[in-house]
Amino acid sequence: MGRFGAGQPIRRVEDRRFLTGQGTYTDDRSLPNQAHMVVVRSVYAHARIEAIALEAARAMPGVIDIFTCADLDADGIGDVPTIFLPQNRDGSRMTAPRRRPLAQGVVRHVGEAVAIVIAETQAQARDAAELVQVDYDPLPAVAEAMDALEAGAPAVHDSHPDNLIVDWEMGDEAAVAEAFQSAARIVSLDLINNRVAPIAMEPRAALGQWDEAEDRFTLYTGSQGSHSLRTWLCRHVFGIPEEKMRVVAGDVGGGFGMRIFLFPEHALVLYAARKLGRPVKWVGDRSEAFLTDTHGRDHHSHARLALDEDGHFLALKVETVANLGAYVSQMGAFIPTLGGSGMLSGVYRTPHLHVHVRCALTNTAPVDAYRGAGRPEAAYLIERLVDAAARETGLAPDEIRRRNFIAPEQMPFTTSGGKTYDSGDFARLMDQAMARADWSGFPARREQSAKNGRLRGIGLAYYIEACGGGGPETARIMLSPEGDATVLIGTQSTGQGHETAYAQMVADGLSLPLSRIKVHQGDTDVVATGSGTGGSRSIPVGGAALAQAIEAVQAKAKRLAAHLLQAPEEDLSFADGRFTLPGSERSITLDELARASRDPDHLPEGMTPCLDATESFKPAAGTYPNGCHICEVEVDPETGETSILRYTIVDDFGVVLNPLLLQGQVHGGTVQGIGQALWEMAAYDPESGQLLAGSFMDYAVPRADFLPRIDSATDESIPCRTHPLGVKGAGEAGTIGAAPAVINAVVDALSPLGIRHVDMPATPHRVWKAIQQQRAGRFGT
């Protein structure tokens, strides 16, 4: 393997433009004659729109036009679609309520778009938007999923009077019931997986353009995949062929799942641009992001684990209620059902699983994929439940896991969740993590903390993630006449560093310096196809496609070299960008071959011109990265404040391409998980449906001074057996492992007081309250 081969911590090629302020995020792009759009949004969670008065706003300086749903209706604009429609347990298919890009008659969550004002400047549009008078007749609202499913709750949509939008199950209910019958012990836990906001640092934005001569749209918007956005916009919103739409991502300031999706503003800037014959730009502010970005999680689960007398798991039964918000976002119904439920078996042999999921409509922002997308919810549930079982059985948390781990020699192993794990050595990684975390020294540290009046706790979680799903990915490599390489690929970096990771692979395969490789992504006019980035798929799927394309270019170049050198192909060797016939003077460089390949006279029979290749990869199986997180905390019983003192991770990602980028993914993901566990909560008032945490003043994003240094390591000795490169994927792993490890540590810290459970986020207030209640209960009030 060369200097750029797998395992090399190559510095990122994209960094220079970001570090010098030369990035092109959506708002950094402007088009001549562009107008600005500001969205008038609902201030109510649920209300009938009685009237919209536009005259005062229209009279404001700079206003070009104002549109409401009536305009969209008149112009035949379609709905924001729901893509994933699961099958209910009665065999029926979910029916999604309609979601108009602008509210039609009724608003169903605070922040829902009601009208758009287009003006010459953003300031003018804002001023005019203030004067759009919407006459609302408020309706009763419901924000919590559990409340929404109660009899008599306000119906969010008349089409779904009971607010139950999905009633789904998986697993063998009878076998689970039987196992529970014979169980020596049943451990149960009620868990809330709290609603969080994704907080991409670049707020959503969109710039729409209409080319009248070409009868064609261009949409500039930061996304996780331009191609799926194009498909959805063409098919569902505008009813036009995909050739009539170009979508360009540019640089993207974070995604975390949220930027996969089609939002109303994408449709609205394009609609207004076509209507007005001018480019139209919308830049959301942070308040709009909180109100209208898809949120994540928001599950309530009742989980029960049946064990035999030796602490072996016999069966797992889970009842979950998931909040999908006021409308079902594209993949919203996938996350709690197929997205997460199959991973509830975790890393354990547990032979039987039954999951029942009910999804509720509420008067809140739509909920969809957020880093991990169902898998963090699954890992949180099982890893909390296993710790509870450890406590009840008296087994140590590592021992109860050891007794139930799927062993390496059992691989491939099909779980009760229906997933077939190809590889993994869970006990070994847990041992490594425990050693790094000085697990055995913990009792002494706990004693030391106790002397200082602090409660110290240690928590362990063993997560497993399913990656590499979704559609196929296609990679194209083209060599210029000078031999410079261009890579076209349909995944999309939102910070991961794909330009470097992919270039690193090409550099290694074709002996090119990074400076001679350019990776293109995110422009549907440049890249033919793409499935985007989501589900930790870019390197497992995109990387595999690129590896095939590199091989194909190598093969084509070799064949051409053999032809031009008049030597047998199998005798040629390739090193440092040059094919050589050993023992002769004959050699030719890749650059020379790239030039020669453009002249048909130089080509062997049947070879197409140019050194290029297009290859697709469609994963035959999922990949299963896994690892152990250990968190050590100290709780101040007087304030309830939790401090993380130590954080240790050992991961199995299979083969590692770039450890520098990998660590970035792991640490960033872990801090998102820690954030959910300790601080973050997209809280709504349960009755009014107002978003209580609607700014950075109310929503606690992890800050630099909240956190310790994270110690992480990878065990690279367990390549994925079902993947051509042996990679397993890594983008979401940190988020999946972190939340249960942190809460297990907090519960461990509080366990001397008799506390067995704390919900996320374990804020000082919540922990303090738990301590006070426990003391009151124990000693009387």
Binding site: R17, L19, A123, E202, T670, R703
Partner: protein, 155 residues
């Protein structure tokens, strides 16, 4: 009503007319095309817009352009010397202190302010100094390393 404004931005004098309500960050981005200074929130918390005014770090979303009349302003675009990155920029690249890059200009500008106050900053001083700059990608560890390395390179 437009007000006449004059300031030095990245070593060059600029003259313009702006509305009284124009924020410095909007002036830099929309009037001067210096789009490296970012807007990540509307409550002056995220720090993506940090610039220097007369050598002191300021969130450009909390300052009216007119308040910087006559001032010497440095933005992320003003740090590199031609092709050579400022040592702090170089340290961010070397230590993978950025991912999506959106918070990065503000991070680098705040890092320079930390070094101004603490030429040899401790981890705690760096973390404290960065609490007004949010990053959702890195988890901050690599940024802390970058600031330490950048400070060392600047000494």
């Amino acid at each position: 009503m437009a007000h006449a404004l004059s300031m030095i931005v990245n070593g060059r004098e600029v003259n313009a007319h702006v509305e009284a309500r124009t924020l410095l960050v909007d002036f830099l981005r929309d009037h001067l095309g210096l789009t490296g200074t970012h807007v990540g929130c509307d409550t002056s918390q995220c720090g993506a817009c940090v610039v220097q005014i007369n050598g002191l770090s300021v969130k450009a979303c909390t300052v009216l352009a007119m308040q910087a009349d006559g001032a010497d302003v440095t933005t992320i675009e003003g740090l590199a010397e031609g092709e050579t990155l400022h040592p702090m920029q170089q340290a961010f690249q070397d230590h993978h202190g950025l991912q999506c890059g959106f918070c990065t200009p503000g991070m680098v500008m705040s890092a320079l302010d930390i070094v101004r106050r603490h030429p040899d900053p401790s981890e705690a001083q760096i973390r404290d100094g960065l609490k007004g700059n949010f990053c959702r990608c890195t988890g901050y560890g690599s940024i802390v390393e970058a600031v330490q390395a950048g400070a060392k390179a600047m000494r």
